[in-house]
């Protein structure tokens, strides 16, 4: 809306005056801090920034940002954000929600926003549990999870959010976690810079109902061996001494191999810009639980036709072709005069 040069801001400028009410020790705090710290670097103004959320612990996020915001209803944030972004392409629209919000009740809106490639940034706080309703298994909880609603273990197979969103043709897909602020900020900046629908899965610890869910991969001591960093143009390697790597087998499946066995040349070189999402999907299948080495970073970042621009171009073309003449509209069917 404003032509005024964006003013220099600090993290404090992006914090609202509202008291943050997550449980002490919640992973959401580190995400909030990371985002408040990052916002001044994006060169955007607070009044042109909007956070939209659904329902759940994560969905309280907009209240804590000194931007425009809407805390809406369960699951619907991507749909609401689509309407806002489409009608106001001048705004920077972010969507925040948890795994229940985005993948269960709001799964439909998530996949459709992504397949349309609507220019919004979707932050999926995945803690593999329902927190605000006090601990039921979620659509990302592992099979066998014992919760109040699954006292002898859940029999639900979970979604892999990266596989799901790649399957929905998302043009930007990344994964990060709440224990690494730098990585998180790097992923969020990439998502923001991306023209199109961007989804970032943030593995987030719920210290009350699912404490330590990601410890096996995100704890500092475990990261080298359990996180596989994806870096564009680089062979995919991990391990304290970069001794392991990822190869594609003959069927196109991603497999973990010892570099000593296969040689550096055999390693898969990561190409996040590959228009075909098959290899990105194969990478997403490397880990289906936190017991396996898990890729983090940008799985996919491709330039595709963006929805809002296309829709608004049609409007611009129509405006050029025909004036907005209400009287002419009323006379556009056969008329007669008395």
């Amino acid at each position: 809306m404003t032509d005024v040069q964006t003013q220099t801001t600090t993290a404090k400028d992006w914090a609202s005056d509202q008291e943050v009410r997550w449980c002490p020790g919640c992973g959401d705090y580190s995400i909030l801090t990371a985002i408040r710290q990052m916002m001044p670097d994006l060169n955007v103004s607070r009044e042109d920034t909007v956070f939209i959320s659904g329902i759940g612990c994560a969905a309280r996020f907009p209240y804590y940002m000194n931007t425009y915001g809407m805390h809406s209803i369960h699951g619907r944030a991507p749909a609401i954000a689509t309407g806002l972004a489409m009608s106001r392409p001048d705004l920077d629209v972010w969507v925040v929600g948890g795994d229940g919000d985005m993948l269960s009740i709001g799964g439909n809106h998530l996949i459709h926003a992504l397949r349309r490639n609507v220019n919004i940034n979707i932050l999926l706080f995945n803690n593999q549990i329902y927190g605000l309703t006090k601990g039921q298994y979620s659509p990302t909880s592992e099979v066998g999870k014992v919760t109040k609603s699954s006292p002898v273990g859940s029999v639900d197979a979970p979604f892999n959010p990266i596989s799901l969103t790649l399957g929905a043709s998302a043009s930007f897909v990344a994964r990060t976690h709440d224990m690494d602020r730098k990585h998180m900020q790097a992923m969020l900046k990439r998502a923001h810079a991306h023209q199109g629908g961007a989804i970032v899965e943030i593995l987030q610890n719920c210290n009350v109902f699912n404490d330590g869910a990601f410890e096996t991969i995100t704890k500092r001591a475990n990261r080298d061996s359990m996180l596989i960093p994806l870096e564009h143009g680089q062979p995919i390697r991990f391990g304290a001494d970069q001794e392991r790597g990822v190869v594609l087998d003959d069927a196109g499946r991603a497999k973990i191999a010892e570099v000593a066995d296969v040689g550096v040349e055999a390693l898969l070189v990561h190409d996040e810009t590959d228009p075909d999402p098959s290899v990105a999907f194969a990478l997403s299948r490397l880990a289906n639980s936190v017991t396996e080495p898990t890729p983090i970073g940008v799985f996919r970042a491709v330039d595709e036709v963006e929805y809002i621009e296309s829709a608004n171009n049609q409007i611009e073309e129509a405006r050029q072709a025909r004036p907005a003449d209400l009287d002419a509209l009323l006379h556009s069917l056969p008329t007669w005069e008395v």
């Binding site: 809406s72 209803i73 619907r76 309407g83 009608s87 439909n108 129509a318 907005a324 209400l326 007669w336």
Partner: protein, 626 residues
């Protein structure tokens, strides 16, 4: 047509009701629509009732596949599609079987006799050919070999033999055009526009239309042809319009009058989809249409656009309103303007998707969780859908509230002449967004922005849109503190906010037109109360009852929440009150609850509008039976 060789005697008629019926694939809706348009151009008053099945193409020749279109044209003011047809055009045995019960004894039947062969008779469930067995003795039957004549007529167009008979609806239209002295030119122009790109189909349709007309003239089958003069109408420019088009144009106009971009979030559903189709054509007005993944995303996207400062709306029918309920509740809590358009159809569940009903009123009133009052505006005629849309937008924007705009399948698809308004006379419904601080913080003395600061007159909250420097704020579905809009779980605050939301909607009563009494306002023995599309039959029935010497008055509601402020006085003034509605008695219950009067339901839930005759009977019954 000015063909002087036609010596058939012309008889003047005051009115005629024609019912076109055929297989779903026979093009009867198109035929009826063309006949209607030409009649409108001649200046007749008219009303139509399209009556078609939900299936796009039910099995050919079956009763389930019959599609009908009734049109009433007159040289005087009319408000209904007619109680009974005078003429039934039946393109096959199923159409005759399905529709004959509408036709009074002595009526005219025009059939395509070629279709009355064994297979079709069998499919329609006829043991014997009704054209041969004397069962139609009480009617005047014209048997015309429409299929054979059409095939013969279109030979030179070059269309394949099996495609040739597809023009037989134009052949039938040609006969009717001759019979009722309708010119062919407007239809010829239309055929050119529609089929001009396909020379063969264009030629075939033109040949069939002309051949039908020539048949009427030369066959010596008919004793008379008829003429219905123009109806006296107020001076001005008219167009013939159906409810969904009028409503769409009303939304476009509302956007222009509000000086806001119009946003429609919608999911296809019968009978509302045509509004999405229509609005998608008007991008030159800055109209954004979003075909959402589901009903919930339709209303969700509209709410998002409203937050951003668009005039936003969502279109649907009953099942969709049910799905949108939670988001409507959020809009009530956020106090953002939005129009939810319910083109009602037969329910519950899938019900009768292509048939009309008024059974969503209670849902509009109460179909949400929590205390969540919402204004309701109802259109009463097809053309009036235009004004109703502007009125819904006016209320939504001025009071920062979602508004339910109700129409129904009958209004949506039915057509009537519309005296086009002067654009300059349409109301200004523009709004001012808040652009500066509106409150001083008591503790710090600093200026700040309170999103729930209210206008003392309207109780509408302040509306600052994203992009406004300095006024960043967060709103949400959790209860908000009065004024600041911050989250508040305070019990007294919740009570106060509940009262404020209710008072805001109730206060709209001061800002809507008073209800007007029609008929014997001073001394009626009976008051008829209606809403929505029952207006036509009610007005007509009250007129007939009064002509028969009864003392009757009627009042028709365009605003159902809140009611017009004088409605209580009106319903208490008369000794008897009846409420005809196409539901099991929803408005009557609201009136009883609100005003403690013995309002009696006259119910019809059959997927078709009341006829005026049914309502005359109800009026007589109510006056005489006590």
């Amino acid at each position: 047509m000015t063909d002087t060789s036609d010596r058939t005697e012309v008889e003047q008629l005051e009115r005629v009701v024609i019912r076109f019926a055929g297989d779903s694939g026979d093009g009867m809706q198109l035929t009826g629509d063309r006949f209607t348009t030409v009649s409108a151009l001649l200046g007749n008053d008219l009303a139509t009732l399209p009556d078609f099945p939900a299936e796009i193409r039910a099995p050919q020749g079956t009763l389930a596949g019959v599609s009908a279109f009734q049109v009433h044209i007159a040289d005087h003011e009319i408000n209904t599609p007619g109680d009974q047809p005078d003429v039934l055009v039946a393109m096959n045995p199923a159409a005759l079987k399905n529709e004959l019960h509408h036709l009074p004894k002595g009526g005219v039947i025009m059939v395509n006799e070629d279709a009355f062969e064994e297979r079709n008779l069998d499919k329609a469930g006829y043991d014997a050919n009704p054209l041969e067995d004397g069962s139609l003795g009480n009617y005047t039957v014209y048997r015309i070999a429409m299929t054979a004549n059409t095939k013969e007529a279109v030979k030179e167009s070059g269309v394949k033999a099996r495609d040739a008979e597809r023009s037989k609806n134009f052949y039938a239209l040609g006969i009717l055009s001759w019979m009722y002295s309708r010119p062919l030119e407007p239809t010829l122009e239309w055929v050119k526009e529609k089929f001009g790109k396909n020379q063969m189909v264009f030629d075939a349709n033109v040949m069939a239309l002309r051949a039908g007309h020539a048949f009427g003239e030369t066959a010596e089958l008919f004793e008379h042809k008829y003429h219905i003069s123009a109806a006296p109408q107020s001076g001005g420019v008219y167009t013939s319009i159906n409810g969904n088009t009028a409503l769409s144009w009303g939304l476009v106009a509302a956007g222009q009058l509000a000086k806001l971009p119009l946003f429609l979030g919608s999911y296809p559903i019968t009978p509302a989809t045509d509004i999405l189709h229509e609005l998608a054509k008007h991008k030159n007005f800055g109209v954004r249409t979003f075909q959402a993944e589901d009903e919930i995303a339709g209303v969700g996207s509209a709410l998002g656009a409203a937050f951003g400062g668009s005039l936003s709306c969502t279109t649907t029918s009953g099942p969709g309103v049910a799905l949108k309920g939670e988001t409507i509740g959020l809009a009530i809590s956020l106090e953002l303007p939005m129009i939810i358009i319910d083109i009602q159809r037969g329910g519950p569940s899938t019900g009768l998707p292509t048939k009309t009903e008024q059974s969503d009123l209670m849902m509009a009133m109460y179909g949400r969780h929590g205390e969540s009052p919402m204004p309701i505006v109802a259109a009463y005629s097809s053309a009036q859908c235009f004004d109703a849309a502007i009125e819904a937008a006016r209320i939504a924007l001025k009071y920062r509230t979602p508004v339910l705009l109700m129409s129904d399948g009958y209004l949506a698809n039915g057509s009537e002449p519309w005296l086009l308004p002067n654009v300059e006379d349409l109301p200004d419904i523009s709004v001012d967004f808040t652009t500066g601080f509106n409150h001083v913080n008591e503790a710090t003395g600093e200026e700040e922005y309170w999103p729930y600061q209210r206008d003392p007159e309207t109780l509408a909250r302040s509306w600052a849109i994203p992009g406004t420097p300095g006024l960043m704020h967060r709103i949400g579905g959790i209860e908000k503190e009065d004024g600041s809009g911050n989250i508040s779980y305070d019990p007294e605050n919740h009570g106060r906010m509940t009262e404020l939301r209710a008072a805001k909607i109730a206060g709209i009563a001061k800002d809507i037109p008073l209800a007007e009494v029609n008929g014997d306002a001073d001394d009626a023995d009976l008051l008829v109360v209606g809403w929505g599309s029952t207006w036509g039959p009610i007005i007509t029935a009250v007129g007939r009852a009064r002509a028969a010497g009864l003392k009757v008055a009627s009042v028709h509601l365009t605003h159902l929440n809140p009611f017009p402020p004088n409605l209580g006085d009106i319903v208490k003034k008369y000794p008897r009150v009846i409420v005809p509605e196409m539901n099991a008695g929803q408005l009557s219950r609201l009136i009883r609850a609100e005003f403690l009067v013995d309002a009696r339901t006259v119910s019809k839930v059959e997927g078709v509008p009341f006829t005026a005759a049914e309502l005359v009977e109800a009026i007589q019954g109510a006056i005489n039976n006590d």
